[in-house]
Amino acid sequence: MIPELGHFALMLALLIAAIQGTLPIIGAARRMPAWIALARPVAQAQFVFVAFAWGVLAYSFITSDFSVANVAENSNSELPIFYRFAATWGSHEGSMMLWVMMLAAWTLAVSLKSRNLPDVMVARVLGVMGLVSCGFILFVLWTSNPFERVFPVPANGRDLNPLLQDPGMVVHPPMLYTGYVGFSVAFAFAVAALLSGRLDATWARWSRPWTTVAWCFLTLGIMLGSWWAYYTLGWGGWWFWDPVENASFMPWLVGTALVHSLVVTEKRGTFKNWTVLLAISAFSLSLVGTFLVRSGVLTSVHAFATDPRRGVYILAFLVIVIGGSLTLYAVRAPKVGVGGRFELVSRESMLLANNVLLLAACGSVLLGTLYPLFLDALNLGKISVGPPYFDSVFVPLMTPLVFLMGIGPLARWKEAEVPDLWRRLRWALAVSVVTALVVPLIAGSFRILVSFGLLLAFWIVASTVVNIRERTRGMTGGIIARIRRQPRSYWGMILAHLGVAVFIIGVTLVKGYETERDVQMRVGDTVSVGSYVFRFDGVTERKGPNYTAARGAVSVSRNGTVIETLYPEKRAYNAGGMPMTNAAIDSGITGDIYVSMGEPVGGGAWIIRVYSKPFITWAWAGFVLMALGGFLALMDRRYRTQARPAAAPARVAGAAGAD
């Protein structure tokens, strides 16, 4: 009975979303206050029903109700409770439900946090989100119903894919989806602005915090996914340029461009058309990503079972949503003025270059991802595009971007002068060049690519230091007082930019100095990697809650003293399926030692993989810093104070409108 209630609640949510997507928009166009006032309550009602439906699904998983087909296929009574909960989004149906749930949550947030916005704007924004929600709920109900029953009821479930039975996988999808779906808010604001014809600085100010939140979550989501791949796939890689990774990376690149271009639109009133296009593109790419993952047009480790009906549906949905908004853009955008002028060398032009580079990067990822599809569709053969392509395209695009990252924040709006910038930054450049040359020598061996990567990273750090010094120079008081006097959004930017530097350092050093050995080891055999010596001490059997593991013991010593023992595992899950590798990793600030078990080769010997990954933790720390920078910027005073005084009149206006 309970799953049927969930199903029914979702149907009601569809009806409510349909109302949310039509009446307020019509009301806004025709100036009908009663219809405009519908937007908030209807959006909140939609959230209640979607949350109920989603809660029912989660409840079915937690209580192991195997009469629900989705539970029977993706869970098992032996599964620990948090994985049973995470199994809620472990399937195609479940992850689409999570998408719908996130969209409803974002809609609720907009309806609650928009008191200082004109009601007409809110009506349009929530209306657009309602339409998007309609599309997704209909998709779930029509092609991917998670509440379907099976009869006869199986005694036990088939189990969650062992790859997903991992703490990282409990957190990664919700984070990623929060970010993915969060761009729908920026999208809705952009479409609402196009509908109203009012595309101005106020619009940019409203959509900026929403975009930043979504961007932060997407950043964290991508990082968690990469980290998960690193420690569960057992061969030490952390980014594979897999179509699904690319699908999350493309919105991130465009989202990053959007975060920057919104600044220009808000502060200088320029780039309006461009910003609107970015807002539409960021969410469109989220949708395209969903299509790529769900339709099976590309092979990927993440692909769920495919069904052409689903692909056709999502494609049709893409055509309506993206095609519709781009048409609206083509028709409406010209009405919006070009905005203020700026010189060739100015902060505007540098941010524009930043945008172009990020977009070019996104374009090349899209091209690489879809190239096999293009060739196949034109009958030109089957190929696959791998990391060499992406690596060779990415570095040349990121280099000027990083260079500008150092100059941009120091350049003046409207007009900056090259000699002046040179005078302020020459020491930063000198320091970064020298450091980049010296550090690899200290690290042991000089490699040109390592040196180059470090140059980029130190350039960001050095120019950031110059920036902070200039900002705080004329001030009185101690360091703390000076720091506090700068707005939080400023420190947010600094933190995020330093995050990029930290990320580059991590990637550069791990690419340059990582070592790996794949060896066949008998009990007592040793292998050395760098200054570490690894001894294989044999394998014992260990029983987990729902698996049996062959647990290897590998002791690590340095200079003759044993530092620690690592326990990599090879797990066989009781419910069957592929054996799983669980790498044992000793993580530290200066890098990881990574041991994973390969195959048994008979006679008690195993293939053991041993990796030394210097500074890999920095790659993830960089991403965390970027996200923290974003969150810090959100705590800026203007977002807090702005909400309060403006709230009162807005509420009065809202009440008057409702009458």
Binding site: L277, G311, L315, T327, P334, P372, L373, F374, K382
Partner: protein, 176 residues
């Protein structure tokens, strides 16, 4: 209206065309460059009779299947019952290529799981596997009377692949 503003829409429409075309194709289907080419010749020791070599020449004039297997291969177990069934029906001879394996575990594996093979030959260092472009075990080739490869199954044989692709092809080749 400014024409430039239509560019994003045009790009998107073209993209959709490709995405739509992509829906009707299977990206996992990788055509083997060997299909239509003569099967690379081999002459290897048999698993049961190491002193008696066996090779492609012995199969001339017959339609046969070459199945690449190994005792260490997990997904071979998946397709094995199908192969046993296929052999029982005596539709066509199946030759096993025991790939990168030791004779003893190989023989033991066949004793445990059933032996569908007319004979299995030992490809201990995987040289013949390279000739055949094997990049994952199991793989299965359908070879016609003239010794030309007509079909390649990558990964385990599924009931679907057997019904739809292999059986009709074998029957057709046997008629000609």
């Amino acid at each position: 209206m400014n024409r430039k503003l239509l560019i994003p829409l045009v790009v998107f429409v073209v993209l959709c065309g490709f995405l739509f075309a992509g829906l009707w194709r299977d990206p996992r289907e990788v055509p083997s460059p060997l299909v239509g080419k003569p099967a690379p010749a081999f002459n290897l020791a048999q698993l049961d009779a190491p002193d008696k070599p066996f090779g492609t020449a012995d199969m001339k004039g017959q339609v046969w299947l070459l199945n690449v297997w190994a005792s260490w291969c997990v997904s071979c177990r998946e397709e094995h019952p199908l192969l046993v069934e296929f052999a029982k029906a005596k539709i066509a001879p199946v030759i096993g290529l025991n790939y990168k394996d030791q004779p003893a575990p190989g023989r033991q594996w066949l004793a445990q799981n059933g032996d569908p093979y007319t004979t299995s030959v030992q490809d201990r260092d995987g040289r013949v596997g390279i000739d055949y472009g094997v990049y994952g075990v199991p793989e299965t080739f359908v070879i016609d009377k003239a010794g030309t490869i007509r079909y390649k199954q990558i990964g385990p044989i599924t009931p679907e692949a057997l019904e739809k692709n292999i059986l009709p092809l074998v029957r057709e080749l046997q008629k000609s």
